[in-house]
């Protein structure tokens, strides 16, 4: 249980003051993190693309995000004529609040979060589902057809991918036997759950990309089709709210994934080396997730909406269901933990093998032509 340093009663004034201080710390850290995620994304993607990224604003461009923030705040806040006024103006906040609420229950170090809920994971699911409301508000309220399409696409996609996401997390919490996020991390002192549930981890990462509207699932914000989707009409401070939300969600999902699958603050040596190391572990693990997301973004093209849905309903959902059922059997009959690893590992290898096999067959079929031309070219020399 949490110990309240400034008072032990549940609803006393000190309790509120303690919560307020923690919230302020989290909000400040989140803002800084979001700013440097934008900087980091620009730098990392630039390196993938053989560019330099921002270099001029501050040393190595480190102040770029602050300059951007100043620019965005001083921009005019335009509301289109055809927009539904209140829906349009409140949409950025409606997307931001769920993400912020998620951050309130994440343990960044042992027993340290804003509040630790016994049903933490359940709370995270429930609150993240609310994100759709803000996106739909922005899509419908903007009075723009691109925004409308983006909003509807986002709703369809997020509702679909919520299911494999929840099922994959369910299969992990079956093993952990708890929904408390702090306890989740505490149980992973020896090994992280990704070893027990690699398939659930893969499904989680995939669904996470989709929930965050990241490539290759950036269909609702597809820049080359609907030019930003639901936030196409926003400018200035409201647009920057959307950006803040996007990167805050990226970070909170990464921290969440780190806690559930990679051992959070605990693995390795979290309990032994103290809170500094625990905090570092949380940030390193989230950084790994974020780097992976940026990497994927700079490499792959976008799926089409029907392919996206097919992948969700025909591949991810059955696999996650099978995972849950298999876990159930093993746990009920007190099977050994290596059996969990085995079943899940076989599933994961199967999934990867299917994808690689498809790609590989396709590749030999398609590159034979270029191969022929390359051959011709060598003989001509």
């Amino acid at each position: 249980m949490i110990e309240f340093p400034l008072g032990s009663e549940m609803f006393g004034i000190w309790n509120w003051a303690d919560a307020a201080i923690r919230i302020v710390i989290v909000v400040l850290v989140m803002t800084i993190v979001a700013m440097y995620l934008i900087y980091g994304e620009r730098k990392i993607v630039a390196r993938f693309q053989q560019r330099l990224g921002p270099t001029r604003t501050g040393p190595a461009g480190l102040l770029q995000s602050f300059a951007d923030a100043v620019k965005l705040i001083s921009k005019e806040d335009i509301r289109p004529d055809g927009a539904d006024r209140w829906v349009f103006e409140f949409a950025p906040y409606a997307t931001f609040i769920p993400v912020f609420m998620t951050l309130c229950v994440l343990p960044f170090a042992a027993d340290w979060g804003v509040r630790n809920l016994p049903l933490g994971m359940f709370f995270v699911f429930a609150v993240l589902g609310l994100n759709i409301v803000g996106v739909m508000m922005a899509g419908l309220g903007s009075g723009n057809k691109f925004a409308l399409i983006g909003g509807v696409r986002a709703a369809a996609q997020m509702i679909s991918y919520e299911i494999p996401l929840v099922l994959s997390l369910l299969s992990v919490s079956m093993i952990a036997g708890t929904l408390d996020l702090n306890e989740f991390a505490a149980k992973q002192g020896d090994y992280p759950f990704v070893i027990l549930q690699p398939l659930a981890f893969i499904i989680f990462v995939t669904a996470m990309l989709s929930e965050l509207h990241r490539a290759p699932f950036d269909i609702p914000v597809a820049e080359s089709e609907i030019v930003g989707g639901y936030f196409v009409e926003y400018s200035g401070i409201r647009w920057s709210m959307f950006m803040l939300t996007e990167y805050a969600a990226l970070w909170s999902f990464s921290v969440f994934g780190g806690i559930v699958f990679l051992g959070g603050w605990n693995f390795p040596m979290g309990n032994e080396w103290g809170w500094g190391w625990q905090l570092a572990l949380t940030f390193i693990k989230s950084a790994l997730f974020i780097f992976f997301i940026f990497w994927v973004r700079s490499t792959v093209p976008r799926l089409r909406i029907d392919q996206l849905m097919t992948f969700c309903w025909k591949i991810l959902l059955p696999l996650s269901l099978v995972q849950v059922v298999a876990n159930g059997f093993i746990l009920v009959y007190d099977g050994p933990y290596w059996l969990l690893s085995l079943t899940s590992g076989v599933g994961a290898i199967l999934l990867i093998a299917i994808i690689i096999n498809r790609a590989f067959r396709r590749r030999t079929a398609t590159t034979s032509l270029v191969g022929a031309y390359r051959g011709a070219q060598v003989s001509a020399q």
């Binding site: 993607v45 993938f48 693309q49 053989q50 560019r51 004529d81 055809g82 009075g143 723009n144 057809k145 691109f146 409308l148 399409i149 490539a215 290759p216 950036d218 269909i219 597809a222 820049e223 080359s224 089709e225 609907i226 030019v227 973004r297 700079s298 490499t299 792959v300 093209p301 976008r302 799926l303 089409r304 909406i305 029907d306 392919q307 994808i355 498809r358 790609a359 396709r362 590749r363 398609t366 590159t367 032509l369 270029v370 031309y373 390359r374 011709a376 070219q377 001509a380 020399q381």
Partner: protein, 383 residues
């Protein structure tokens, strides 16, 4: 002001719930239109049921301007039609005037022209590969990969002609100046780097499962339909017909050169992409042959050129293989030092006219890719 059609608000209360189609305006300022092109898509959900293209935003009156300018001055306008491969356009214009006036081009100039035109073709196709990758949704990585090689090609153009994009390097009767001394070694270095860039892009795009999945079987086209619609160039070759003006009606010295015509199988978007990729290898091959066979010295421009070119009469229709297809120039002379009438048959224009037929029945996201696969250049479409 509402974005809903009025029919919708009228029928909303009725017992029979009715749906109406929505129109989406894509362009003239839209990242996927590659310039100032506008198309109005009528969509039923995400499915396109109608498409109406609007062009002319970049119409500069090329043909009228050509009628007002001297034969030599007018070439500057023709550069700016297919601005990704300016020298291919210059060549077509020069060929038309040379045909009318009977001017012979020296051997060395012919080789130089082929080298420069093929480099322009590679340049344009790199732009296609990059922009097409971005259309399909990769976040600019393919774009920058393509851009790297284009930058090097433009550097070479600058060394040879003094300008990068619109060099006006060709002239009636040859080319304006001889190649620099280190051209051959520079060009060979460039070809190596082009080949490396092609390998990179091939790996990035063709090796990507999502990319292939998006493009395969998308808006397939049959040979007969493509011919009926007047489609030429890589899109026609993607349907399996190895028709290339360089082979079918050779001009310049193409009949002496050894190269193959890549063809696709079913004319879908993937084949269009792939034909262009394979074509670039062939262009590299052509350039290598030219470097080997080119006469080492000699004139680069005809010596018997009059100070002011006057053509008594005549008409011709010159066709060349531009980067997007058959780049034809109809020229008519009726005395004087100006062309009486010049008409550009631009490949992008003709290919784009088939857009409606290709797009209808696909998703909005695919409509963007199909438009990208046509590889239009608006300077050429709008003249």
């Amino acid at each position: 002001m509402s974005i809903w059609p009025t029919e919708r608000t009228l029928t909303a209360d009725e017992a029979t719930f009715d749906t109406v189609d929505m129109t989406i305006n894509i362009g003239p300022q839209h990242p996927a239109t590659h310039g100032v092109f506008r198309m109005v898509l009528t969509v039923d959900g995400e499915l396109v049921v109608d498409c109406e293209p609007y062009i002319g935003y970049l119409h500069r009156g090329l043909e009228k301007l050509t009628e007002t300018a001297d034969y030599r001055q007018a070439m500057g306008w023709w550069d700016r039609t297919d601005y990704l491969a300016g020298m291919c356009c210059e060549w077509a214009y020069c060929l038309a005037v040379e045909k009318l006036s009977g001017i012979q081009v020296p051997e060395r100039a012919e080789y130089i022209r082929v080298i420069m035109a093929e480099l322009s073709r590679i340049n344009s196709h790199f732009m296609f590969l990059g922009a097409f990758g971005a259309d399909v949704g990769s976040f600019g990585t393919s774009f920058v990969y393509g851009w790297r090689e284009r930058e090097r090609i433009y550097d070479l153009f600058e060394e040879v002609a003094g300008d990068r994009m619109f060099p006006t390097y060709f002239k009636i009767g040859g080319v304006t100046m001889d190649l620099p001394e280190n051209f051959e070694s520079r060009c060979r270095w460039l070809l190596d780097s082009i080949r490396q860039g092609l390998e990179d892009l091939d790996g990035l795009l063709t090796g990507n499962e999502i990319f292939v999945e998006r493009c395969r079987n998308l808006s397939p086209l049959t040979k007969d339909r493509a011919i009926a619609l007047g489609i030429t160039g890589p899109i026609l070759r993607a349907t399996g017909l190895p028709w290339d003006v360089r082979r079918a009606e050779p001009y310049g010295i193409y009949s002496r050169l050894d190269f193959e015509i890549p063809v696709g199988r079913q004319g879908d978007v993937f084949d269009r992409y792939f034909v262009r990729l394979a074509e670039m290898y062939q262009s590299v091959r052509i350039i290598e042959q030219c470097l080997k066979e080119m006469p080492k010295g000699g004139l680069v421009c005809a010596t018997d050129l009059p100070k002011t070119l006057r053509i008594e009469s005549g008409e011709c229709y010159i066709r060349t293989e531009g980067t997007k297809g058959e780049y034809g120039v109809y020229a008519m002379a009726k005395g004087g030092n100006k062309p009486y009438r010049m008409k550009l048959r631009s490949p992008s224009f003709c290919n784009l006219s088939a857009l409606r037929e290709m797009v209808v029945g696909n998703y909005v996201a695919d409509a963007i890719i199909i438009l990208g696969s046509l590889d239009i250049v608006l300077g050429e479409v709008d003249k």
